[in-house]
């Protein structure tokens, strides 16, 4: 590839070679590493669904507004999910890690929306 920025590539190589240090081989017990990784992986994996359920009491405009505030969505996206709740009985709003899903359910319930989190199976 002919590039007028070829000099950048060369500088990049020189810089890279110049600063690269020798890396040591990790001396950590494989068993222990595996345990830590498993734990952090399960709590950080986006394996939880945040669901909003239909009810006959919350106003459609109110539900749209809450989705916009809690998730920072544009009105169009918030309305799409609100209509899904209204017409299909529920809408999966997002798929998140355990902690984030909990946070969103707390926020939605502060506005008295019927929202829960479920494990994605």
């Amino acid at each position: 590839m002919d590039s007028k920025f070829g000099w950048l590539d060369k500088r990049g190589v020189i810089f890279y070679v110049g600063v690269m240090a020798e890396t040591a081989t990790p001396q950590i017990q494989p068993g222990i590493v595996q345990t830590i990784e498993d734990k952090s992986k399960s709590s950080l994996e986006p394996g939880y669904l945040v669901i909003c359920w239909n009810d006959p009491v919350n106003f459609m405009d109110y539900v749209t507004h809450v989705f916009q505030v809690v998730f920072g969505w544009a009105r169009k996206k918030a309305e799409f999910h609100m209509l899904q709740v209204h017409e299909q009985g529920k809408s999966v709003l997002t798929r998140e890690s355990l902690e984030k899903a909990e946070h969103y359910v707390h926020q939605l319930q502060k506005y008295t929306l019927h929202a829960t989190m479920e494990r994605d199976e």
Partner: protein
């Protein structure tokens, strides 16, 4: 309840005599939703489901206390809920509109729960159900005024 001034930092409403009387009455019903109404998960298949459910209840209880204090402060502050010849003037920041909507919706949903969570408007009202139905409708009315106003701020 009429929006008379809307800026990025302030929303000012004029309330008629009836609205001036009914808004404090509605707000004093808060909190109305029973804590058992809040469920974190339908399936309950979460790690430490009981502990996490308790966390939700604690967070909501904390928020209820905070909102109760804010309601009391709002109604007692003549700069924000001031009396006029025609009724009252209510001055709110956008953040206050947010929590006021939470409070009003709590009263609306809580009244609905007390009515037995009906799918439709009850065919007949009696001395027991009428006040809850009225509270539900009035809370909804004020809520809609606030929602409309948020859409109009400049």
């Amino acid at each position: 309840m009429k929006l008379v001034k809307a800026t990025k930092t302030r929303l000012v409403f004029e309330l008629g005599q009836r609205e001036k009387r009914s808004l404090p009455q509605i707000l004093k019903l808060y909190p109305c939703v029973p804590s058992a109404h809040h469920v974190l998960s339908k399936s309950g298949r979460l790690p430490d489901a009981e502990g996490n459910q308790q966390l939700l209840e604690e967070a909501l209880a904390e928020q209820r206390e905070e909102n109760k204090q804010l309601v009391r402060a709002l109604l007692a502050d003549p700069k924000r809920f001031g009396h006029t010849d025609t009724g009252a003037r209510l001055s709110l920041s956008p953040a206050e509109v947010e929590w006021l909507m939470q409070v009003l919706n709590d009263v609306r949903v809580g009244s609905w729960v007390i009515l037995g969570s009906p799918d439709k408007k009850p065919a007949e009202l009696n001395a027991t159900t009428a006040p809850h139905f009225l509270a539900m409708e009035m809370a909804g009315y004020f809520q809609m005024q606030l929602l409309e106003a948020l859409g109009r701020e400049t």
